[in-house]
C-alpha cells in the first residue's frame, strides 16, 4: 500500500430535500488500500459511492481522484473505475460474455474476438467456466450473477473498484466465496477498493481499513482488525448487532 492518496473526500455534503444524508464527510483512501464502509441502512453509504462515481452530484465539498478535483462535474475517469453493484446490474439483453466484456468493447474499443477471450479468462478467474459464456444472466443463480458481475468489474483491470454490499442476499458459504474472490482479484490487479457492507465477516475479510458512517459523517476509521475492539460505542453496538446503545432506530 502506497502513501499517496487515491481518493480524497473533504467536507462532502448531500441532502435530498430536508433529509441531510452526507453532512461533511472526510475520507482519504490510499493507493492500493481496501477501505470498508460500514453503517446502518439509510445512512448514506450508497449515496457516498454514487457521489464518488458521479452518478449523484454532491451539494458541497471536494472529491479528488489521483489529486484531480472532480466534484464540480459529472465526468469521472471511468476508465479507472470498476463497480460491483448490489443487485449485480447485469444487462438482461446481453449474453454473459458480452456483459463481462462490455467495458472492453465499448470503453476500450477492443475487437469482439479479443474481448471474448479476455471475458472468458475473467470468468475463469472468478470460478466460472466457458460453458456459461453464451447463456443469459437470468439463467444463472444469485451467487453466479454476483460472480459474473465481479468478473465485469475487474475486466478492464481498473485502478479503483467499488463494491456495493457484495455479499447481501447470499448464503454464508457463497458470501465467503465472493469475499475470497474479491480479495484475490483486488490483490491480483493491485487496485484500490472501497466497499460498503453490513456484513461484518465480509468487512473483516476484504478490508485493510474500515470506517463507520453515522449521521452523514465517518465517526470512526481505523485498521479493520480493530473493529471488534474499537472503543467507540457506536461501532461496538453496530458490530455486535445490539438493539440497545447510542444508535436509536426510529420506527415510523
Amino acid at each position: 500500500m502506497s502513501k499517496t492518496s487515491k481518493i480524497k473526500l473533504k467536507n462532502l455534503k448531500k441532502s435530498f430535500g430536508k433529509k441531510h444524508v452526507l453532512t461533511g464527510l472526510d475520507l482519504d483512501v490510499k493507493k492500493g488500500e481496501s477501505f470498508v464502509i460500514i453503517g446502518g441502512s439509510g445512512t448514506g453509504k450508497s449515496v457516498l459511492l454514487k457521489c464518488i462515481l458521479g452518478l449523484i452530484q454532491p451539494d458541497n465539498g471536494s472529491i479528488k481522484i489521483d489529486g484531480v478535483e472532480v466534484s464540480d462535474t459529472k465526468e469521472r475517469p471511468y476508465e479507472k473505475f470498476g463497480m460491483l453493484f448490489q443487485g449485480g446490474a447485469l444487462f438482461d439483453s446481453l449474453p454473459i460474455w458480452e456483459n463481462v466484456a462490455f467495458g472492453l468493447l465499448h470503453g476500450n474499443k477492443m475487437y469482439k474476438d479479443e474481448a471474448r477471450i479476455l471475458a472468458i479468462e475473467k470468468l475463469e478467474s472468478v470460478g466460472l467456466g466457458e460453458d456459461i459464456a453464451d447463456h443469459m444472466p437470468s439463467e444463472m443463480s444469485g451467487g453466479m450473477q454476483k460472480r459474473i458481475s465481479l468478473a465485469r468489474a475487474i475486466a478492464t483491470n481498473p485502478e479503483i473498484i467499488f463494491f456495493d454490499e457484495p455479499t447481501t442476499g447470499l448464503d454464508p458459504i457463497m458470501a465467503d466465496v465472493i469475499n475470497d474472490l474479491i480479495k484475490k482479484c483486488v490483490k491480483e490487479i493491485g487496485a484500490t477498493a472501497i466497499s460498503i457492507t453490513h456484513d461484518m465477516a465480509s468487512a473483516k475479510k476484504i478490508g485493510d481499513r474500515a470506517g463507520m458512517l453515522y449521521e452523514g459523517k465517518l465517526i470512526w476509521t481505523d485498521n479493520v482488525k480493530k473493529l471488534d475492539k474499537s472503543g467507540n460505542e457506536y461501532v461496538d453496538q453496530f458490530v455486535h448487532g445490539r438493539a440497545k446503545g447510542p444508535i436509536k432506530w426510529v420506527v415510523k
Partner: protein, 262 residues
C-alpha cells in the same frame, strides 16, 4: 411569508415554473438524444435492433388495424353515401382517409401501445435495477446507447410502417367494395388513383415520422426517469402510452394544418 403580494406571486409562479419544467425536461432529453445521432460513437447494432423491433415486429398489428379500418371505411362510406347517390366517391374517400389520417394515426396509436410501452418497461427496469448506472461506470453514455437509437429508429421506421398500412387499408376497402358491394374493379382502381395526389401520401408519411419520434421519446423519457421499483416501472409504462397517444392526436392536428390550411 405573510405579505399578500408575495403569496400571490408564489401562487402565480408555481404553475408557470411547473409548466416550463413539464415542457423543458422532455425537450432537453429529446435534444440530448437527437444530438447523439450526429456524433460518434453511434451504436449501429442497437439501432438495427430497434429498427427491427419497431418496424418488423409491429407489422402484424399495424397491418390488421389498417386492413379492417379500410374495410369498415368502405362499408360505412357506401351506406352513408348511398343516401344521396354518391357511392362513386367511396374509393376516393377510402384512399384519402387512409393516407391522410387513418393510416398514420391508427398506426401511431397501435405502435404507441406496442413499442412505447415496451421501451418504457425495458428502460424503466434498467433504471430500477441500476443497469443504467452500470452503463455509466463502464464508460458508456446511457443516452447515446439507449435513447438515440430508439429515437432514430422511430423516426425512420414509422413512415415505412404507415406506407404499408396505407396500402393494406386501401386493399381492404377494395376487397369489400368489389366482393361485398359489387363495385367494378377497374373503375374502383381508377377512382382510387384519379384523385390521389402526392401531398396526401407525403403528409401522412411526415406525420408518421413525427409520431415515431414522439412514441420513442415518451417511452424512453418515462422509462429513463422511472423510480420506485416495479410500481414505478408500471407508472412509466402508463405515462408513456397515455402521453404518446395525446401527443399523437395534438401533433396530428398541427401537421394537418401545416399541410392543408390555405
Amino acid at each position: 411569508m405573510t405579505n399578500p403580494f408575495f403569496i400571490f406571486l408564489a401562487a402565480l409562479g408555481r404553475p408557470v415554473l411547473g409548466t416550463f419544467e413539464f415542457i423543458g425536461r422532455p425537450s432537453y432529453f429529446a435534444w440530448q438524444g437527437l444530438k447523439g445521432a450526429f456524433s460518434r460513437p453511434i451504436y449501429f447494432k442497437m439501432l438495427r435492433k430497434q429498427m427491427i423491433e419497431i418496424g418488423y415486429f409491429s407489422l402484424p398489428v399495424v397491418g390488421m388495424t389498417a386492413l379492417f379500418s379500410g374495410m369498415v371505411l368502405a362499408l360505412q362510406s357506401y351506406t352513408g353515401f348511398s343516401r344521396f347517390s354518391a357511392e362513386g366517391a367511396v374509393a376516393t374517400v377510402v384512399v384519402l382517409s387512409m393516407t391522410r389520417e387513418l393510416g398514420p394515426v391508427l398506426a401511431g396509436l397501435m405502435v404507441a401501445g406496442r413499442v412505447g410501452s415496451s421501451m418504457a418497461a425495458e428502460i424503466g427496469t434498467m433504471r430500477v435495477t441500476e443497469q443504467i448506472d452500470a452503463l455509466t461506470t463502464l464508460s458508456v453514455n446511457p443516452v447515446r446507447y439507449l435513447i438515440t437509437p430508439r429515437l432514430v429508429a422511430g423516426i425512420i421506421m414509422m413512415p415505412f410502417l404507415v406506407l404499408i398500412a396505407d396500402i393494406i387499408g386501401v386493399m381492404g376497402g377494395y376487397f369489400v367494395s368489389i366482393y361485398a358491394l359489387d363495385f367494378n374493379s377497374t373503375n374502383y382502381i381508377k377512382s382510387t388513383i384519379q384523385f390521389l395526389e402526392p401531398i396526401d401520401v407525403i403528409s401522412g408519411l411526415v406525420k408518421a415520422a413525427v409520431f415515431g419520434f414522439l412514441i420513442s421519446l415518451m417511452g424512453c423519457y418515462h422509462g429513463f426517469n422511472s423510480k420506485g421499483g416495479a410500481q414505478g416501472v408500471g407508472r412509466a409504462v402508463i405515462n408513456s402510452v397515455v402521453s404518446a397517444s395525446i401527443l399523437i392526436l395534438i401533433s396530428n392536428y398541427l401537421v394537418t394544418e401545416m399541410f392543408f390550411t390555405k
